[in-house]
Point group: C2
Chain length 218, copies 2
């Protein structure tokens, strides 16, 4: 059994590792966890002894198979609880993250497997992120950022990259949610901004918005 702090480190390292290949640096972890590098070094050394990650002084860390599975399981719990909060308790998708951050640390295999069933074995959380199975495996999905599309391409919104409240509320205002069809009417190469069509509306979006929306084309 891993402590709350250990689980959070594993989760953070898992996410960092998937966002950039190679070992994860101490500073990157400290940054992601809003803590100090010295604290990270301590914890990472402890986790290396527990064989959930391999750590080479001054070189960084990377999760072992065991560590990856543990991290994926925490993420699985986080995302299943987010589904519960949105689908069953009618929370809005921008309100669930902090609560799930607590619920993900409740230890009970049985609880999660029953929750999974209760929710109808969902594949994605409310932000479009895939829910790992109980072995820690994630189905790979082919999605790209809206910012990668060009003029006249279109697709369906299948997820958000950042999911902070401000961004999600912006999407609501524009009636964009998971499943929404989006077409690129124009793209400005100077600043990466776009004009897109959503339903009957067409409007301008900045590069920053386009870089945070996942689209599936085909």
């Amino acid at each position: 059994m891993y402590s709350l702090a250990e689980e959070n480190y594993l989760k953070a390292i898992y996410h960092l590792e998937s966002k950039s290949q190679g070992a994860v640096s101490t500073n990157a972890i400290a940054d992601a966890m809003d803590t100090k590098p010295s604290s990270v070094t301590d914890m990472v050394q402890k986790l290396a002894e527990k064989e959930v990650l391999s750590y080479i002084k001054y070189k960084g860390t990377s999760l072992t198979k065991k560590g990856k599975k543990t991290a994926a399981n925490v993420i699985r719990k986080h995302r299943l609880w987010e589904v519960f909060l949105v689908e069953k308790l009618n929370f809005h998708w921008d309100e669930v993250h902090d609560i799930a951050e607590q619920l993900e640390h409740v230890h009970s295999e049985e609880l999660i497997s029953r929750l999974d069933k209760f929710l109808g074995f969902p594949d994605f959380d409310p932000h479009g992120d895939p829910i790992p199975d109980k072995h820690g495996n994630v189905k790979p999905t082919e999605k790209k950022l809206l910012s990668e599309l060009n003029k006249n391409q279109k697709g369906v919104c299948v997820g958000v990259k950042e999911s902070n409240s401000d961004f999600l509320q912006y999407l609501d205002k524009k009636n964009i949610t998971i499943g929404t069809k989006v077409s690129v009417l124009g793209k400005e190469f100077f600043d990466g901004s776009m004009v897109i069509q959503v339903g009957r509306d067409q409007f301008f979006i900045s590069k920053k918005i386009a870089e945070n929306l996942y689209i599936q084309t085909n």
Copy 2:
């Protein structure tokens, strides 16, 4: 906001206080929490500074209004989660306590108020214990122990005193659950044992069983 340890102390003291009038002794708390008296003294001094209980050296502690409300709120969360686990996830009533013990420490007013609504504002948990309202108030119910009934009296089972697995599984075996009608056919004054009728069955029960079943007569 109170830490997990603080919440558990408050809860334990709340229960001890309701089971016996007057200040609660340090040893009683240590006993209930399966910890050492010296640890209790430490924590109780800390909680006294936070004004959730009043503590007089060598005399014991008792919760303040603030402490009672906080404790009742933790208990409210515990019991609502137990209802959720049984009613929605189909857990058995003897499996839910340890999970609820973790879930009760998730901090979110909104979560609990939505959960309450989702469950249909239940008044009792799966073991028949009353669920405090959000202000920490508990409706008083007039129930007595089965052991207090005499020959030819009858009533409805409305709760269990102890709720450990062995006891609950015994009740299942005898088809006794919340709502079951129970009649006392005979009572042995020497050892407090009884012969009772449940449905079509009539059988012998020990004093210990009778002392752990709450009955409502009328």
